[in-house]
């Protein structure tokens, strides 16, 4: 069970891991995109932590909506509307909540995945962040039952990491990389990578 104070601490973790990996994400984006993924997300998550004082004492829905709106307004690249939508859709399932259970978290992630699919008009197998998000969600759903929260989250992370690896065998048909066609083969998707980094902070804090 996570409280809203845990959620605010998590946002600090997310910002930290994005700042640490800013150059790595940008390097991944160089051969297949517009070389701005790390820079864009770093700007966005910095703006999110700048707004933390305004989120203190609020419910999870308000916090996640603020994160989403901030990312949309500050990221600039495709990851802005995509992560923005993900957080805003998750927010809609968490209105009024001050504690988040495992089931709540799975509902949030399901809404986020559906939101990203709709916003990006994308599905799995197209070398996008969905190739990490969907396997993570499916692995966690398959684990629930008598598994501990830690086991569920770890299964999600392992599936996301595996998903990132698999993007190297895909040809991009969405986003700027789609202009490259088969030349996108062999490259690891930056969006799937950044999702997995963000997800790892959840696992570390709550797993």
């Amino acid at each position: 069970m996570a409280t809203t104070a845990d959620l605010l601490a998590l946002l600090e973790d997310m910002n930290a891991i994005i700042q640490e990996n800013k150059n790595y994400l940008t390097e991944l984006d160089m051969p297949i995109g517009d070389s701005d993924h790390g820079i864009n997300l770093a700007r966005g998550f910095q703006a999110v932590v700048d707004k933390l004082p305004a989120m203190e004492g609020k419910d999870a829905g308000f916090i996640l909506k603020t994160v989403g709106m901030t990312l949309v307004s500050t990221v600039g690249g495709a990851s802005g509307p995509l992560y923005g939508t993900a957080f805003m859709k998750a927010a809609a399932t968490a209105n009024g909540k001050t504690e988040i259970s495992q089931e709540d978290f799975l509902s949030m992630l399901t809404a986020a995945v559906d939101g990203v699919k709709l916003r990006g008009k994308a599905t799995t197998g197209e070398q996008t962040m969905l190739d990490a998000m969907v396997p993570a969600l499916e692995a966690m759903r398959a684990k629930t039952g008598d598994a501990s929260p830690s086991e569920v989250l770890s299964a999600g992370l392992a599936a996301a990491e595996d998903g990132v690896e698999r993007t190297k065998d895909m040809i991009a048909t969405k986003g700027r990389a789609s202009y490259l066609g088969e030349r996108s083969l062999g490259h690891q998707d930056p969006g799937a990578t950044s999702f997995t980094l963000l997800f790892s902070t959840i696992v570390k804090r709550f797993g």
Partner: protein
């Protein structure tokens, strides 16, 4: 008159397309929303929102976009609008902006302007 917004990853592309369109229809209501606030490449929610509000009237707004996140950011702007009828046009931004500006300035409605942009993308550019 229908308002026109040109959304591009580049401020120069958005402004250049607007410049060309205004040369054909000087009285058109056009706004450019290109690039990030610091002038970098990307699309900015706030810039697009302000551009839509600037050219909005009861005749509605037509928005042209260049690619990728320009569409996603514009969709999010549309979802946040209240009381403004804005629609996204499917067509090339240079030829489309000119077609939209001319159609809007002669008093065509929002649907006709959207159609003019779409048509601009289907006309062959090489005639022989």
């Amino acid at each position: 008159m229908v308002g026109i917004v040109i959304v591009s990853h580049s401020q120069k592309v958005a402004e250049g397309a607007m410049e060309l369109a205004l040369q054909m229809a000087a009285d058109a209501r056009i706004a450019a929303a290109g690039g990030l606030p610091d002038g970098g490449i990307g699309t900015d929610f706030q810039k697009i929102l302000e551009a839509v509000e600037r050219v909005a009237s009861e005749d509605g707004v037509v928005i042209l976009f260049d690619m990728g996140s320009a569409l996603m950011t514009t969709e999010m702007v549309l979802e946040s609008l209240e009381g403004i009828n804005a629609a996204i046009a499917d067509g090339p931004i240079v030829e489309g902006a000119i077609a939209a500006a001319v159609s809007a300035s002669i008093g065509l409605g929002q649907q006709a302007v959207l159609e003019a942009v779409r048509q601009a993308g289907t006309e062959p550019k090489l005639l022989s």
